[in-house]
C-alpha cells in the first residue's frame, strides 16, 4: 500500500506567519522582519560550486544560534561531473525551527539555484509560491542549452508560480573582489560565500563563526581567506541594502534541554563514540579500514585522535582492514573496522573467523544504495539481511543501529559494550543519511558514559585442568551467564593457546570434528548471541495515551520521518504507537509480546522489507511492509498517509476528520 491519501498535507511548506514588523536598515530602507517557526532551505549548484561547504556553514551558524535542525546533503558520486550538467548537481537541504525537528523537511520553502542545471533538477520539488533565488549570471545560452532549456526560464514566464528573485550572484561577487588581486576564475569561486552572506542576512544568522572558520581554513592562503570573507560580507550587505529583498526572517531558538550543545554529523559522532569506548574500557583502539564512501570520514576522524592511543591502519583492501582489526583484538585491543555494503561483502569470511574465534570486534557498515557499487553517495537500509546472515555456516552476529546523527555516538559505545562483554563481532548499521546529516547534539559528560572496564577481564591464570589434573588455561571455557569465552592475551605466561577457523572442542578450543561437539558449539554460539537480549532494555514504545491499535516499527535513520509522521497522525486526533529498534539482533526480549498487542503493525524501510521479513519469521506477526529505495529518506507526509490509511481501516468510525494540514514535525 503506497498510495498517498489526499487528506494528508503533501508538504511542509508555509510555517506559521506573524505580522511583518518594520525595522530600519542602514541605507535608509525600511525592511520588515517576519517571524517564522520553521524554514526548509535547499541550496543547489554544480559539484564544484561548494554547496556542501555553504550548507555546512549555514548549519553551524544556525546551530550556534540555537535553532533545532536536521540536514540532508545530497551529492553525486562523481567528484566533478561535467560543469553545468544535471548529473553534476549537488544539493544541501536543511530544516531549522524554533521547536524540535525530526527531519530535514519533505520539500524546501526556499530553493537557491546556482545555475540552470540546479534549477531544472530541483524545481519540481519547490512547492508553488515558494521562494526561488537564482544566480542570473549563470543563465547563459550555453548553460541553458546544456540542460535542454529552449528558452530562458527567467524570461519566459515559466517561473511565475514561484516568488523568483533573480540575482547576479557571480558578477556581484567579482565586483566585491575587484581589488582583491585575485584572477576572475579564482574570485568567482567565492560566490558561494556571497550567497551564504545573503542567506545569513535573510535569516538573521550569527556571522562570527563563519569568519573564524574562513580564517582558520585558509590560514596558509590569507588572500583567499580575505576574499571569501569579503564576498561573505558583501552578500550580507547586499541583502541589507537591496530592494530585491524587502523582508528578512526570524526563527527563534528552540527550547532544548539545558546543557552544552554542538553541531555533529553521524560519522563524526560515530568516530567520537569509538574513541569514548576505548577510553571507557581502557583498551587501545585499533581501526583497520579501507576508504569507501560514505564511511571514510570515520577513518579520517579517528586518524586525528592518536593522543587517545587510537591506532588507525589504512589497509590494502577491505579484507586486510578487518583482518588487521581482528589481529589487534587477539592482542587485546578494541578492534574496529569501518566500511559500507560492498566492503561488508568482502569482509564476510573474516567476520566468520571472528565469530569462530569469539574475539571482540566492531564492524561499522555505513549503508548506501546497492547492490554492487549501487549508489555510493545515497542512503539505503538494504544491508540488514547481509548483516544478519551474510556468512557461511551458522554465524550469528549482533546487529544494532543508530537512529539519528547524534545517536551514532551512543550506538558506537553500545556496540563496543556488546563486543567486549560477549567476545563477539558486532555489526553497527549506520547509513549515508545519518553519516552526512547533522543535528545539534547535547555534549555528554565523559564520566557519565557507560563504564566498560568490567567487560574487559583478561585471564592470567589457569581456569581449568588437563585430564591428568595439571592446571591449564581453557580458552573456550565460558562465563555461565554471558557464555563469553575466557580471553587471554599474548604476553601473559602460561596462557598460550591456539585459536582459528576450524571447529573448536568445547572448553579446550582444540580442533574437533566430533559430530556432537559441533552441534553443541553451533547451538552455544547462537545461545550466546540470543542471550544478549538479557542485557538490553525492554522495547521502548512511544504511545502517549497507551491505547493505539496501530503500531509503526522501524530501525535506523527512518526514526525522524516516522516520528514526524506520528506527530501528524496524533495532531489529527488519531492514535499510533511508534517503536524504534536499537537492537535488531537479538531483538528486545518482549518485542513479540508488544507487537501482538496491535491490530496492525506497519514497518517502513528503505529496502524491500528486510526487517518485516525478520519480524514475520520470528513472531508470526502480519507486518505491513512499506518500502522505498529512492536513495533519499522517507517524506513524513507519505508515511503519515500510509499510517492514516491503516488506522482508518482498522477503526473506520473512530476518527472522522483528516490529518491536520501542515502539522508541525
Amino acid at each position: 500500500m503506497t498510495g498517498t491519501n489526499p487528506t494528508v498535507a503533501p508538504s511542509d511548506s508555509n510555517g506559521a506567519l506573524a505580522t511583518p514588523v518594520p525595522s530600519s536598515a542602514p541605507g535608509g530602507l525600511v525592511k520588515s522582519v517576519v517571524e517564522l517557526d520553521r524554514v526548509v532551505i535547499r541550496l543547489a549548484g554544480d559539484s564544484g560550486d561548494g554547496m556542501q561547504l555553504t550548507g555546512n556553514r549555514f548549519t553551524s551558524e544556525t546551530a550556534s544560534f540555537g535553532n533545532d535542525l536536521k540536514t540532508l546533503p545530497n551529492f553525486p558520486a562523481e567528484i566533478r561531473a561535467p560543469t553545468g550538467t544535471l548529473p553534476g548537481v549537488s544539493s544541501f537541504q536543511l530544516q531549522f525551527a524554533d521547536h524540535d525537528v525530526m527531519t530535514p523537511g519533505d520539500a524546501p520553502d526556499v530553493l537557491v539555484a546556482m545555475n540552470p542545471a540546479a534549477l531544472k533538477a530541483n524545481l519540481s520539488e519547490l512547492p508553488g509560491g515558494g521562494l526561488l533565488i537564482v544566480d542570473s549570471d549563470e543563465f547563459t545560452p550555453r548553460n541553458l542549452a546544456k540542460v535542454g532549456y529552449a528558452t530562458n526560464p527567467l524570461e519566459d514566464g515559466s517561473l511565475e508560480g514561484w516568488q523568483t528573485v533573480s540575482v547576479p550572484l557571480t558578477s556581484m561577487t567579482l565586483e566585491a573582489l575587484a581589488d582583491s588581486g585575485l584572477g576572475k576564475k579564482e574570485a568567482e569561486r567565492s560566490k558561494n560565500m556571497f550567497t551564504l552572506g545573503l542567506l545569513s542576512w535573510m535569516y538573521h544568522r550569527p556571522t562570527e563563526g563563519t569568519i573564524r572558520f574562513l580564517e582558520r581554513q585558509f590560514r596558509r592562503k590569507p588572500e583567499i581567506a580575505a576574499a571569501n570573507i569579503a564576498a561573505f560580507r558583501a552578500g550580507y550587505n547586499y541583502g541589507d541594502t537591496t530592494e530585491a529583498f524587502a523582508v528578512s526572517y526570524e526563527i527563534k531558538p528552540a527550547p532544548m534541554k539545558p546543557g552544552r550543545y554542538r553541531n555533529i554529523s553521524g560519522n563524526q559522532a560515530l568516530a567520537l563514540g569509538l574513541v569514548a569506548a576505548g577510553q571507557r574500557s581502557g583498551l587501545p583502539v585499533f581501526l583497520g579500514a579501507y576508504p569507501i564512501t560514505p564511511a571514510s570520514d570515520i577513518l579520517h576522524e579517528l586518524s586525528r585522535h592518536k593522543a587517545f592511543g587510537v591506532r588507525t591502519f589504512q589497509a590494502e583492501d577491505e579484507i586486510a582492514g578487518i583482518g588487521a582489526a581482528l589481529g589487534a583484538s587477539f592482542g587485546g585491543a578494541l578492534g574496529i573496522t569501518t566500511t559500507s555494503g560492498p566492503g561488508v561483502s568482502l569482509k564476510s569470511e573474516a567476520l566468520g573467523l571472528a565469530v569462530m574465534t569469539e574475539l571482540p570486534l566492531v564492524v561499522v557498515d555505513v549503508q548506501r544504495g546497492g547492490p554492487s557499487t549501487g549508489l555510493p553517495t545515497k542512503t539505503e537500509q538494504s544491508d540488514l539481511l547481509q548483516a544478519m546472515f551474510g556468512r557461511n555456516g551458522e554465524a550469528p552476529v549482533p546487529v544494532i543501529a543508530p537512529r539519528s546523527p547524534g545517536d551514532c555516538f551512543d550506538a558506537a559505545v553500545e556496540a563496543a559494550r556488546i563486543a567486549l562483554t560477549y567476545r563477539t563481532p558486532v555489526m553497527l548499521l549506520s547509513d549515508g543519511y545519518l553519516a552526512n546529516g547533522a543535528e545539534p547534539w547535547a555534549i555528554p559528560d565523559a564520566d557519565s558514559l557507560p563504564d566498560l572496564t568490567s567487560a574487559v577481564a583478561f585471564a592470567t591464570e589457569p581456569n581449568g585442568s588437563a585430564p591428568d589434573g595439571t592446571p591449564e588455561f581453557l580458552p573456550y571455557l565460558r562465563d555461565p551467564e554471558t557464555l563469553a569465552r575466557a580471553w587471554a592475551i599474548p604476553g601473559t605466561a602460561g596462557m598460550q593457546h591456539r585459536i582459528g577457523g576450524l571447529e573448536k572442542a568445547d572448553k579446550t578450543g582444540n580442533i574437533s570434528y566430533d559430530p556432537a561437539n559441533h552441534d553443541f558449539m553451533t547451538r552455544t554460539r547462537q545461545a550466546k548471541i540470543d542471550g544478549i537480549a538479557a542485557s538490553i532494555p525492554p522495547t521502548d514504545v512511544d504511545d502517549p495515551d497507551g491505547d493505539a491499535r496501530v503500531a509503526v516499527i522501524g530501525w535506523g535513520s527512518t526514526y525522524g520521518p516516522i516520528g514526524a509522521a506520528a506527530r501528524r497522525i496524533r495532531s489529527s486526533g488519531r492514535k499510533v504507537a511508534q517503536i524504534h529498534l536499537r537492537h535488531i539482533n537479538p531483538f528486545p526480549a518482549d518485542l513479540g509480546e508488544v507487537l501482538a498487542r496491535y491490530d496492525r503493525v506497519i514497518c517502513p524501510e528503505m529496502n524491500l522489507g528486510q526487517l518485516s521479513l525478520l519480524l514475520r519469521a520470528k513472531y508470526l506477526v502480519d507486518v505491513q511492509s512499506h518500502t522505498q529505495v529512492r536513495g533519499l529518506p522517507f517524506r513524513a507526509a507519505e508515511l503519515a498517509a500510509v499510517i492514516q490509511d491503516a488506522i482508518d481501516t482498522v477503526q473506520p468510525a473512530a476518527v472522522d476528520h483528516a490529518v491536520a494540514n501542515g502539522a508541525q514535525q
Binding site: S64, F286, A320
Partner: protein
C-alpha cells in the same frame, strides 16, 4: 583488576595490567628454553614423510636461541598444509583464513609492538589468494617473520598446480599441462621492496637455521622462502638441489662478503652482465675481480633482484641464503612514534574532544 586512570599518558591499559599481573603470579619471564618446550600436546597430522616435519623440528630447536619467552610469541597462519603449524607450537597462535595471515599479523604487530610475530604460509596461501596482503606487508615493513613453505603444489586440496608450479605441470586440474607462468617468490618480495629476503631448503637444517636466525633478528618484515617437499603430490620437486650428485652444481650459496663461486671445485661463478644484471660464468674463464662478492645489505634492490633471476623454473642456478637485508624503520615503530608525538601536548582529554570547537549553552 587494576583501576585504570583514564587519559593519563602512561596510564596502564588492561593489557599492561594483565602482563604485570602475570609477572606477579608467574614470576619473571622464562627465556631459557629447550626445543621441547615449544611442543604442544596436539598430534601432528601431516602426511608421514612430509617436509613440514623437518621444518617444524628445525624451528623448535632453533627458537630457544632467540631468548624470547613462549608467551611473547605469536604464530599466525592461513590455510593449507603448512598453516597447521601453529597448533604444534606452544606459543600463542591463530590458524586464520586463506591468504589473510599477513593482514592479521599486521594488526597484531602494530597493536602490540612488544610481541614476536610470525606468519607461516604456503605458496598457494601467500602467493595466490593472499598475494595482495603479502606484497603490502612487505612494503610496509611491519616487524614480523614470514615463513613461506613452497612445495610448488596445492597439497590440502589434493594436488592442483600452484602459483609456483612450473609451466606445463600436469596435475589434476591441468591434465594437458599448466599454462600459468610461475612466480619466483624471492623476486616478488624484492620487487615489493622487502627489507629481508632469504631462501632455504627444508632438509638443510644448518642453512635453514642460519637464515631463520637472521630473519628473526631483523627489524621489519622478513620473508623466508623454504623449499619444502610434498611427498604425496609433488615428490622430488627439489631433488635437483638436494641430490648430492647434482645439488652443488646448481646451488649458489650466498654468504656475505664471499665471492659467488659454486659448483664442484668452484667451477662456476656469478659475474655482472652488460645490462646491469648478473650471469653465470666459468670461473676459469673470468678474472677474479669480475666475480661478484655477495653483499645483502645493498640499499638498491637491483642486485638482490638480479640474483633471484639467476634461477630458472627447473631450479638450475638457485641461490640459497640471504638475498637482501637492509635497515629501514619498521611500521609499528613509526606508528608508536606518531602516537608519542601526538601525546607531547598531553594525553587526550575526552571531554574536550566531545565538545569540539563551536559549542553553545542552553540554560533553563
Amino acid at each position: 583488576m587494576t583501576t585504570v586512570e583514564l587519559g593519563m599518558p602512561d596510564a596502564p591499559t588492561p593489557i599492561d595490567a594483565a602482563i604485570a599481573r602475570s609477572l606477579e603470579q608467574h614470576g619473571p619471564k622464562v627465556t631459557e628454553l629447550k626445543g621441547k618446550d615449544f611442543k604442544t600436546d596436539q598430534e601432528v597430522r601431516w602426511c608421514p614423510g612430509c617436509g613440514d616435519y623437518v621444518i617444524l623440528n628445525a624451528v623448535q630447536s632453533f627458537l630457544p636461541s632467540l631468548g624470547i619467552a613462549r608467551e611473547d610469541m605469536v604464530i599466525v597462519s592461513g590455510i593449507g598444509c603448512s598453516s597447521r603449524f601453529p597448533y604444534y607450537m606452544n606459543t600463542f597462535g591463530m590458524h586464520s583464513i586463506h591468504g589473510r595471515a599477513p593482514a592479521i599479523a599486521t594488526g597484531l604487530a602494530a597493536a602490540r609492538p612488544d610481541l614476536s610475530v610470525w606468519v607461516v604460509t604456503g605458496d598457494g596461501d601467500a602467493l595466490s589468494i593472499g598475494g595482495n596482503h603479502l606484497i603490502h606487508a612487505l612494503r610496509r615493513n611491519v616487524n614480523m617473520t614470514i615463513l613461506l613453505f613452497n612445495n610448488r603444489i596445492y597439497g590440502l586440496t589434493k594436488g592442483q598446480y600452484s602459483p609456483t608450479s612450473e609451466v606445463g605441470k600436469v596435475t589434476k586440474s591441468t591434465p594437458m599441462g599448466s599454462l600459468d607462468h610461475p612466480f619466483n617468490p624471492v623476486s616478488l618480495a624484492i620487487g615489493a621492496d622487502a627489507t629481508f629476503v632469504g631462501r632455504a631448503m627444508d632438509s638443510d637444517r644448518k642453512g635453514l637455521t642460519e637464515v631463520l636466525r637472521q630473519a628473526a633478528e631483523h627489524q621489519g618484515t622478513s620473508l623466508v622462502e623454504i623449499y619444502q617437499n610434498c611427498n604425496i603430490f609433488n615428490d622430488g620437486a627439489f631433488e635437483l638441489l638436494k641430490d648430492p650428485a647434482t645439488g652443488p652444481m646448481w646451488t649458489i650459496p650466498l654468504e656475505d662478503g664471499k665471492p659467488l663461486v659454486f659448483g664442484p671445485d668452484g667451477a662456476s661463478c656469478v659475474v655482472r652482465d652488460d645490462f646491469g644484471g648478473l650471469r653465470i660464468a666459468e670461473t676459469n674463464q673470468v678474472d677474479a675481480s669480475q666475480i661478484v662478492v655477495h653483499d645483502a645489505s645493498r640499499e638498491d634492490p637491483s642486485y638482490a633482484f638480479a640474483l633471484s633471476r639467476l634461477s630458472s623454473q627447473d631450479l638450475r642456478y638457485t641461490p640459497m641464503g640471504v638475498f637482501r637485508k637492509v635497515q629501514k624503520p619498521s611500521y609499528e615503530a613509526m606508528m608508536s612514534e606518531q602516537l608519542d608525538e601526538a601525546r607531547l601536548q598531553g594525553p587526550g582529554d575526552l571531554d574536550a574532544l566531545l565538545a569540539g570547537g563551536d559549542t553553545w549553552e542552553v540554560t533553563a
